[in-house]
């Protein structure tokens, strides 16, 4: 499996306490979003990082003689800009990296990091799974093998926005690595849960 999908997990680790696992519940998979989903932000930050250098170069050419007297304010502005950019990048990275999907033997828990000190956790009982669809679209997604996983459920979905994936009855996760294999794994876990319920 992809390195973004962790299969060897100690479910008793205190780090998983916030998931409120049930007595016999075990985390089978920990899935992180594909790094390609972070590429757009990274390119934006690199572009923004180059921008002051061009400005400085242009200012240096135009006001070559008088630039020294403005050096304090220029230095402060550039330093402040890069500090802001680094903080923005780190925040964006946390938003990307801390979006995690936990697949246990009973549930799918989608933890969405939504900015500074804001997290949204949605969970879906594997019994409620009706259909799982993997969507891989475009060159980048096909080449890097990532895409969207849409889990059709008998219950609530992840968002109430009817224009976007995640409408009621659909549990949608974007930028998932190896979505086809994950879809098969989820359906397999679903069958295990249903058959164990039937046997009881």
């Amino acid at each position: 499996m992809s390195h973004l999908i962790d299969t060897e997990i100690n479910s008793h680790d205190p780090a998983f306490l916030y998931l409120n696992l049930h007595t016999n519940e075990e985390i089978k998979l920990v899935v992180r979003h594909h790094w390609a989903g972070f590429l757009g932000t990274l390119l934006l930050v690199v572009g923004m990082g180059l921008f002051p250098l061009f400005i400085l170069f242009a200012v240096n050419l135009t006001f070559k003689d008088s630039i020294d007297q403005y050096m304090p304010i220029i230095s402060v502005a550039i330093t402040g800009f890069y500090l802001f950019l680094l903080t923005f990048l780190f925040g964006a990275w946390i938003n990307y990296y801390y979006d995690i999907i936990f697949i246990t033997n009973e549930r799918i828990v989608n933890v969405a990091q939504e900015g500074l000190l804001s997290r949204k956790t949605s969970e879906l009982n594997l019994r409620q799974v009706e259909n799982v669809t993997a969507e891989v679209e475009g060159f980048l997604q096909t080449a890097l093998n990532y895409g969207i996983l849409v889990i059709e459920t008998a219950g609530e979905g992840t968002t109430g926005n009817i224009d976007k994936p995640g409408i009621k009855g659909f549990f949608t996760v974007t930028d998932v690595p190896d979505p086809n294999r994950l879809a098969r794994v989820i359906l397999e876990f679903h069958r295990n849960v249903v058959s164990s319920t039937d046997n009881n």
């Binding site: 402060v76 680094l86 000190l117 997290r119």
Partner: protein, 63 residues
């Protein structure tokens, strides 16, 4: 008052805000990181880059 004083003051306030935001991010990393993940490596890299920008900025500000 020297105009540099206001530059120092504004910069100081800005640094304080950046520091507080970063401390909140650090708190979040330590609270939600999972065993064996890349959080601490990225956090270390982030701190190194912050210090690099801060000190190189201070160096140019001095001249």
């Amino acid at each position: 008052m020297d105009s540099n004083f206001f530059i120092y003051l504004g910069y100081g306030i800005f640094l304080l805000i950046v520091l507080v935001i970063n401390l909140l991010y650090f708190f979040q990393v330590f609270k939600y990181r999972l065993p064996g993940d890349a959080s601490l490596s990225v956090l270390t890299l982030h701190i190194i880059l912050l210090l690099l920008v801060l000190f190189s900025g201070s160096y140019f500000f001095r001249t």
